[in-house]
Symmetry: C2
Subunit: 346 residues, 2 copies
Amino acid sequence: MAQPKKAASIWDVARLAGVSHQTVSRVVNGSPRVAAATRDKVLEAIAELGYRPNRLARSLAGGAAESVTVLTADTSLYGPEAALRGIEKAARALDWSVQISVLDPADTHSDADIIARLPRAGEPTIIMAHDEPGMRAKQVLLDQQPHAMVAIGPYTAEELAASPWLVGMDDGKAAAEATRYLLDLGHTTVHHLAIPTSTGTFGGGKAHRAEGWARVLRDAGRPVPEPVPSGWTIAEAFKAVQPLVADPEVTAILCGNDHLALATLRAAHLAGRSVPGDLSIVGFDNTPFSAYTTPALTTVNQDFESVGRGAFELLRHRVDGSIPRPVPGWPEPELIVRETSGPPSS
Amino acid sequence: MAQPKKAASIWDVARLAGVSHQTVSRVVNGSPRVAAATRDKVLEAIAELGYRPNRLARSLAGGAAESVTVLTADTSLYGPEAALRGIEKAARALDWSVQISVLDPADTHSDADIIARLPRAGEPTIIMAHDEPGMRAKQVLLDQQPHAMVAIGPYTAEELAASPWLVGMDDGKAAAEATRYLLDLGHTTVHHLAIPTSTGTFGGGKAHRAEGWARVLRDAGRPVPEPVPSGWTIAEAFKAVQPLVADPEVTAILCGNDHLALATLRAAHLAGRSVPGDLSIVGFDNTPFSAYTTPALTTVNQDFESVGRGAFELLRHRVDGSIPRPVPGWPEPELIVRETSGPPSS
DNA sequence: CCGCCCGTTGTGAACGTTCACCAATCTGCG
DNA sequence: CGCAGATTGGTGAACGTTCACAACGGGCGG
């Protein structure tokens, strides 16, 4: 076995089993309208030749897609990486193949560039990119193949209910919870080190982290400090957060994700401010390392892997109406209090 | 534009341009044997219809593959994740598509399972999995399609030279360098918190981290303590390393990667041992967070992204002989001394 | 002025599968 | 014993592309 010969096709199996190619196709696809005896013959031939159906030909001939393309902004971020993992797992369980395509802002200027990135028209696609090219890609897909796309992102329950192609969690609510927690601890206000958003440094939907944070402060009648914009990398965050940690008035910082929180922790340490004594720091995402920093990060747990799985299920439903619409089921974001948060020093 | 109509095919373009489908094919593939006037007509038709070649049909018809499958163990590990990023970037630049397939030990028992995981026979594949199913997958591929596969892993320069389908770095050498550094600092010996390997807790090739570590100790005539096996997760590492940090005799620990090092750092902190005063800790990989822990991790930098790019280039060369064999070009692993290492307290 | 060759274009057959239909063979019932 | 209806199987045409080869036209050498 295992010659470098050409792979067996459906015709080879048919010849060996003494049936037509169509019968083989039926057996392979588990059609009920084939006699048991015939099925056995075919199965035997399949085993003998080591036949495996050719995905390409299958899709070409208009069969089921059995393939997803994941359009993502950056696989080095924890969120997308975890969601991708969830998608891949779910896809693998059903024997779908997963394509990945990174939407680099550097070479994604026009809609044409985005269209060119799509492997083929109608290819089922999950998009998780909240930056500018990502939003544009979403729009393009929505125009071209709304039935074969799903977008992952931070959305409120209402937004999710309104758009059947959306999947995600309400980051705003989670950020609000974290902010309220810090306020309850006795902090006068909470500062925010923000991740980049699609529309600049601030804003986006109501479900964005910065929005939830600002909402709580406003509702509580507290001053709403200007959020400090950071890039995605820890190095950028470290630089951006300097003025914040240097300011003794600042007693609590809500960070856009755990990487930014780590940078903040480090910056605070170097600035000689004790955490949580002088300064409380709260992260976002519950990235695996966050339980093991010193002190351990207080953060908001997010089950991105489940969201990824949910996105895949929804996509399947949309692309093939016969599958029941999945009920979005994953844990709500949840604040995990560890060691970087506490009451202000007085 | 952007109707949900069916995508234009090569025939549609041909009809509109008033030429044959083959001529369109020639234009699309940049064949030189097409008159300029004809080419323009075709190009115009292409633009008007928004035609994009169908990858599936192209591969089916025996054209160039333009597609790689990455077989990996776990995308949540920094190494594979970074290498995948490198592969994806290189592939995207050439407009290849990237498929990803995770080799889960849980559902990869027999060779048949592995074969089933390959999208189609002859599909160019890069494999980066050093665990048991990974090794088996490598063997299967080597038997079936040696010309269309490349494996990434820790290999010595000799191993790399001997096997034209191998790509990687000599982790053993890097580990040796780190160990020697600790010895030079004055430590009597160095302990090792080891990542899982293909063959159990220890061993594998000469280029494995644990091998390089042990070699240096032996050569220096130092006691070679039993390496402490850890799983891949930080939680597992944290548990596994407890006896090590509790033992006052232990003054230096080389960790199999930065995640294990972070766990060790945390464990040492909780055990009341100061770092680097009582205990030196050295990590591996220079994971992005490692410069921002407190104290900052001394570690070994690895340019996995470049390795990934190199693997892709090699694969291209192997699958299409006309491309020049790439010279493996990426930075050697390099020790980065930060704050977690120092002389023993004595 | 004829034939040859080159540059250019067209024709037909793959590739491996599914889909829509049609044909043959059984079953059971009147 | 015949016939409707179910059950099972086969046939041919798609899908969108490339490959191998044949055909057309014009320029050039003899």
